[in-house]
Amino acid sequence: MLEFFHAKKPLFPPVGFLCSLLALGVGMAYSSHLVLYGYIAALALLFALFGLWRAVLGAGLMMGCFGLLTGVLSCLTAGSFASFFETLGRCLLLGVAAVPMLSLPAADMTRSLRQMKCPGALTLGILVTIRFIPVLVGEVRQIREAMKTRGAGSAWRRPQTIYRAFFIPLTMRILGISDALSLSLETRGFRLKNKDASVFRPVRFGWRDGVFAVGTGILSVLLGVLA
């Protein structure tokens, strides 16, 4: 579902994660200064230049709309325009700070974790969680349809029926899916204590990642100086 935002040449995952944290942390510290907008714009430009433009556009649009709405509410609550700009700025910061991670395929992230000798079960679990969200969306659709066929689709006067007709099949399907997946993983040789498992297409740190990190760092320092 986040595939649209993935970059053609993703960053080295730890660099993406750390830059995301850095941008968020530094931005949060100076979030009440108007120079934050300049920081956000500069970061967005830097990220776009490194090929993460889809994530920049997506996150910018989403958080921009969210920020406008929240900003208006903030302004009405606090009674000042400054509050609007501060809230909008913070929302945009959240969006732009998420860009390095948003542009990263989950497989690359888990590969780098495995290269750092993170337990296979945890990396596999993260992959499974992300991968099975759309599968469960499909399951929920099927269940809701099945509820209609049994007359439980719109039984709002009987909430117990709706609760049973939805949660019992959903839980059974979650159990069934996890059993089937466990079997498949075991028969494909996955073992919890296999520390020597290979990594297909390992992710490596390159000069591009270094330049990206340095760029983010310089912009963060500049924010601190100018604020």
């Binding site: 986040l2 809230t87 991670m101 969680t129 969200i133 059974m172 979650i174 996890s178």
Partner: protein, 198 residues
């Protein structure tokens, strides 16, 4: 007798692959539930409303997960897995989920020692989302530019949503335990967890 034998064993029993896989799929369901409920209230600046709305569903799934895998560390792993998709969108939300899971389990170990009693599951699943409130509070204050004194000056809405989060959390946990009991009747869950006969 079976319950006493289990309690005598080391509470930190090793997880099996199927334990991880089940919790991963369950975490996907939790993330989906959050994705459905969050857009309803994400525009509001009212502290704790998002937690309150997500609380019952998160607690429900946690209760089911803990009923099946009754090992310390289970909720922390659920917190890690359910936070992972959020890490790609907001690192703060990832830490929020993870920290809440760890805190809930530490409290469980303090009060109950293990998950063998139903009360332990109910407590841990119910308290999971409320424990994310402190981090949410700090984050919310930063996002809206309000200070702690602003909150203290008008505490009613925050108190309402916090209490609501706790109540709905325990309600969701209660429903989750009911579903788990049904799964036992259907033979899909063992009365004392997956490896109770080990």
């Amino acid at each position: 007798m079976k319950q006493k034998n289990i309690e005598k064993k080391n509470p930190f029993r090793a997880f099996k692959l199927k334990d991880f896989v089940f919790r991963a799929v369950l975490s996907a369901a939790m993330t989906l539930a959050g994705g459905v409920t969050m857009p309803l209230v994400m525009h509001t600046t009212l502290f704790g409303l998002r937690n309150m709305v997500a609380s019952p569903l998160y607690a429900l799934f946690c209760a089911i997960g803990l009923s099946k895998v009754r090992k310390p560390g289970a909720l922390s792993v659920i917190g890690l897995f359910s936070g992972a998709p959020l890490a790609f969108m907001s690192v703060v939300m990832f830490f929020n989920n993870l920290v809440a899971g760890i805190l809930a389990e530490l409290l469980m170990l303090l009060f109950f020692r293990n998950y063998q009693k139903k009360g332990a599951i109910l407590f841990t699943a119910g308290i999971y989302m409320p424990l994310s409130l402190p981090v949410t509070l700090l984050f919310s204050m930063w996002l809206n530019g309000s200070s702690f004194s602003d909150l203290v000056a008008a505490p009613i809405p925050a108190i309402f949503t916090s209490i609501g989060t706790v109540i709905l959390g325990f309600f969701g946990a209660f429903l989750g335990c009911k579903i788990a009991k049904e799964l036992q009747k259907a033979g899909k869950l063992r009365p004392y967890g997956e490896d109770a006969d080990a």
